[in-house]
Structure formats: C-alpha cells, structure tokens
Symmetry: C2
Subunit: 354 residues, 2 copies
C-alpha cells in the first residue's frame, strides 16, 4: 500500500481516486483555491460536483491550506492541474518532494518557458525542480483515451504512462492498474505529450467535417476520416521533430485519444459551428460569452508556433503540416473553413514514414 497525493481536485485528478482506492492505497486529494467547493462537498460526504457521482468514501480530501498534511509522508504525487496553472502550483509542491519520488501528471498542453519558447509541459515541471532533485525525481506522463467520468463509472479504460525512467512508469502502473483501468508503460514522453496537447487541436478539425453536413446538406464522413488519418500523421511528424518516436502516436495517446476526443466534447463543438458557417471569430466569441473554454483553440496556436520554431531549427518543414497550417488559418485568420479544408486535403498525406 502506498500513500498517494493528488494535486488538484478537478475531474481527471479526482477520477484517479477510483483505481487507487480499488487497489487499497491511501489517497489524499488536495484542492487548489479554485477547488474549495469540491473539497467542501467531499468533506460533507456529497457527490463530486464535477462528476455528479460519488467518489469512494476512503478518499481523504484536503483543502488549499492543508497542503502540508496532504503531502506528509506521501510516496507519490499526481498533478491534476490545468496547463496554465501547472508551473505555479507545482512550485508549491516542490518543497515537500523527496529524492526517489515519482510525480505523475495528467495535465496536457503547451506553455511558454521562461525563455519565451513554446514547450510541452514536461519542460515546465523540470524547470521548477531544484538542482539537487533533478536527477532523483522521476516524472510519468499520462496519456491515452480517458474521459474522467468513465473512470469513475468504471467503464473499461486503457491508458499509457510514459516516462524517461521506464521503472518509474511501471511502478505507477502497478499502483493504479485495475481490471477496468488498464495501463501500458513506455518511454516515449514526447510522443505522449505532443498527442495529449495536439489531439484537442485536431479534434476541432474533425468537428468541422460534422458541421459541413449541416452547411451542405449531406454527410462528410469521408472528409472526417481523411482528416483523422492526416491528424495522426502530423502528430507523428511533430513527435519525431521534437525527438519523440511513433510508439505513442500510433498507440493509445495518439490514435486512441484522438478517436475519443473527436467523438464528442467542446473541441469538436467549436469545429462543428465553424463548419456550419460561423467564422472562427464569431464562434470563439460565442463560446467565450457562454463561459466555455476550448482547449483546442489555444492548442492550434501553440502547435503552430511550435511547428514554426521547429522549422527555424530545421527539424521539420511547415509544409509537411498542411492540416495544422489550415486549422491555424481558419481559427486565427478567419479563412473560410470549407474551402480551406478542401484545399488542404489535397496537400495532406497519410503516408507512413519510419
């Protein structure tokens, strides 16, 4: 039995309580200042307000000021923080870390590093570690198709844990894996993280094909499948340009997570309304007015900026990524969606290159 502290009581961090409790671990769920209501509800025995479903009673909720207690003698930490707050919150956790600890992370996306470059989140976490812990802390990044609520419901789920230290990934795997929460382990951190970040961007494109149906009066399933294939191919190009492999791209973090993200959700919805005929400016303004944040929208911009960085470093050619460039033009330059997609599909290739 281990003591595991989950940092952030949002939907995904809280969902991991379920396999951890199934496996008999002591689970502390710490909420940030944004999670006050969640922690209060859990302390009062109510359902988790994001899941609208009960969590196992054995979980121990900790409020923002109780971080020291939540971290006391803990064996493992799992970061379940939104991407924009990850670095800031991780700084608060760092003083409690000890050599040999494993830090899991379900946070996905891009950020700016202190030097202004666009980076994946592993770089943000590593940047915050003090020198004396840099070699003794292992990070494990969690990818794959995983709607949080389905982990709580115990729908059979398969995910991927990636770490530069395969033993750390396997240790976290052994801690969380259950008959309905299956974990694969690999060392392709970059592949897993680029897919985790970019699947939201490409899902906006898949949504557009759904919207074309309403606009044109007939299905565009062929278009959606072509976009799906080319999205996977482009995630592969990005992974390799960043030094990752294709293991995760063609596995659960890439193919699998894009499938579930394209099925439903806010990213798809944003694409759908643009496909139906709204300009991106109108669609984004509408979702902002409704208080809806769509991860795919900044992901398209971050992904495009990162691709430009990689081109400058001669690690890829931007013209190898016509789908990403087209999504950027549609979302940030109000290029017409139908015409842009039709043209970019003539430039895309699903051709697999080893």
């Amino acid at each position: 039995m281990s003591k595991v502290t989950i940092i952030g009581a949002g939907a995904m961090g809280s969902a991991l309580v379920v396999p951890l409790i199934t496996n008999g671990h002591e689970v502390r769920l710490w909420g940030t200042e944004l999670d006050n209501k969640i922690i209060r509800d859990l302390k009062n025995g109510k359902d988790h307000p994001k899941h609208k479903y009960p969590l196992p009673k054995a979980v121990k909720p900790f409020s923002e000021e109780e971080l020291p207690a939540a971290m006391e003698d803990t064996d493992m930490v799992i970061m379940g923080i939104t991407s924009d707050a990850l670095g800031m919150i991780f700084e608060r956790v760092v003083p409690y870390l000890k050599p040999g600890m494993i830090i899991g992370s379900v946070t996905k996306g891009f950020e700016y590093a202190t030097d202004g470059r666009v980076v994946l989140l592993p770089d943000i976490l590593k940047e915050k570690l003090p020198a004396e812990l840099k070699d003794s802390i292992s990070f494990v990044f969690i990818g794959g198709p995983c709607k949080a609520i389905e982990v709580v419901w115990e729908s059979p789920t398969s995910v991927c844990y990636s770490s530069a230290n395969l033993e750390a990934a396997k240790k976290l795997q052994a801690t969380l894996m259950t008959p309905v929460y299956r974990v694969e382990a690999n060392t392709d951190v970059i592949g897993t993280e680029i897919c985790a970040a970019m699947k939201n961007a490409y899902a906006v494109g898949l949504g557009m094909a759904e919207g074309f149906k309403k606009r044109k009066g007939f299905l565009h399933n062929n278009t959606k499948s072509a976009l799906f294939t080319f999205a996977v191919a482009e995630m592969g190009i990005l992974s390799r340009a960043l030094g990752g492999s294709l293991v995760s791209v063609y596995g659960l973090p890439g193919v699998g997570d894009l499938e579930v993200t394209g099925e439903a959700g806010r990213n798809r919805t944003l694409g759908e309304v643009i496909g139906e005929g709204l300009t991106a400016s109108q669609a984004v303004a509408k979702m902002k007015a409704e208080g809806i944040t769509v991860e795919g929208y900044p992901a398209i911009r971050f992904g495009y900026l990162m691709a430009k960085q990689l081109e400058q470093e001669q690690k890829l050619f931007l013209k190898e990524l016509p789908l990403l460039a087209g999504l950027y033009a549609i979302l940030y330059e109000d290029a017409p969606a139908y015409e842009t997609v039709t043209i970019l599909l003539q430039q895309c290739t699903g051709a697999y290159k080893q």
Copy 2:
C-alpha cells in the same frame, strides 16, 4: 482521355463514375444479372437506385448481355463486385483483357482459394488470369475511408490505391484523382487489403462499446477508443504476418477506413445490439430475418481462420490477437460480450512494433 469499364453497377463501382466523368473519360458501367434494375433505371435517365441521386449523364450503362460492347477497346477495368462473386464475374471479363491493361478493384474481403485456404481477394483475381497474361496485367487495389454516396455527392474524399506495380497505381491515380477525390498511391497491397477486409470485423467490436451504454446506463467512449487502437494494432500484426507493411495500416486504409466504418453502418449496428444484450445468435438471426447482410460477421470468421493458418505457418501467435479472438468467441460461440471485452482489453496492447 481513357475508356474505362466498371464491372458491377453497385453503390461503390457506380460512384467512381463521378470522378471519371469529371476528368473527361469515357465511362462504361456494366451491370451483372443482379444489377438489371439499376441499368434499366440509368438507361431511362432515372437516379441510381442505390444512391437515390443522379449520376452524370455522360456515363454509358450496359446490361448483363452487353459485356462485349462494354469491354470493346477499353483501356482500364475497375471491378466493383461483391467479394463472393468476384472470381466468377472476373472469369467472364478475362477473355477481353489485353496485355498492359490495368485492373482496379474496390471489392473487399476474404475468399477460399481453390486449395481451401482463406486468402485475400488479390489472390482470387490472380488465380483466374491465364498464364500468358500473368506478367502483363497490373492489379490496383483501392482502400481507404470511402462511403460511396459521398463520392457521388462530392464530399472531399481521400483514398489509397495499392499495387505491386507502383506505375500502374499512379496511372489509375492520374485517371481518377480530382480536387474532391484525392488518391494516394503505394505498393502495400497486402496492408491495404487486410485493412479493407478486417475493418468491418473490428467495427463490430466498436459497435459493442456503443451498445454497452444502453446496457450499463453510462457511456463507454474510453472502451471504444481502446478497442479502436487495438484494432489498428492487430491489423498491423496481420499485415506483417502476411508479408505486408504498416504503411497502409497507419494510413487511409487502416486508421482512416476503421474510423468511418465505426461511425455508422451495419457492422457497427450488429455490434451495438450485441453490446446491448442480445446474444450473437439472436442478433444475427434478427438481421438475417430483416434481409440485412453484415460484412463484418463473415470477416470475423475468415480473419480468425486466416490467423490460425498464419499461426500454423509460424508467422504469428494467435495470442497476439486477443481482440480478434474475443470477437470470434462472441460472434461464433455466443461468449458474453461485456465480460469478454473487459477481459480481452487486459490482454490487448497498442504497442507499436516496427
């Protein structure tokens, strides 16, 4: 301009009329005895009864007894025949073939060869060629996500033409490609054909995850995405065991075609009713009573038999294909769907092997 004869006036063969006419070719559409009504309707200027939508007026329809006229001086042939009749109909076409001709095929699936082995359809076509034509006729196999009706509507579509003779694939590509019907060419005939045949089988599994929602009262999107990922991985194992590569598996014929096949259609529906709680025997009997044929049902059996052949030849281990084995157990041995899928997911791996 070329003269192109399409053999079989079903939905897919007839759909290819559209890009061919767009490109200014002379197109002859020949119907078998099963297509009499279709050819009669087209000759009378009516909509194609399968598409319920008009075909370009320039197409020349030929009825069963007009095969000599349909084949006269033709440059290329495209076979659009159901898999069970492909060999028989191709025998009737053979006398009209000339050295150097290209034969395209949109037919997908498995058949028994004359020696009783389960084979992919390219072997059936090659078997029927007379010795003097074996080296001078090039076959091109068409795969990728392509609902026929969307080709007729001109929804942007991307497909893959595979041939042992890349020049032949490129020639057919140049003949058919339009701004809305994009064609990639490769030499991975086996990969393209195993995906074309097996995507129907695996789509039955994807449908089951949809059915689990009704059975359990909550979504199983995570389960569906995991099944999707593992289906792609198993198509890769089958392709390589047969001597194919991963080019098509991770491209339009594999990832792409599985996506469109899992979205909707009869294969998915069969899986869905089984996922909801019908036994496979009940579900198959119900669909037979309604006169519905589901390609995925025989494909699961053929695929399983082929995998057993390959195991005997020491080209793979059946235990590498837990999803296919599980689908066989559910569909042909009435194994309980939910329990079987939950257990097989613990054995599956999306791990990408070069």
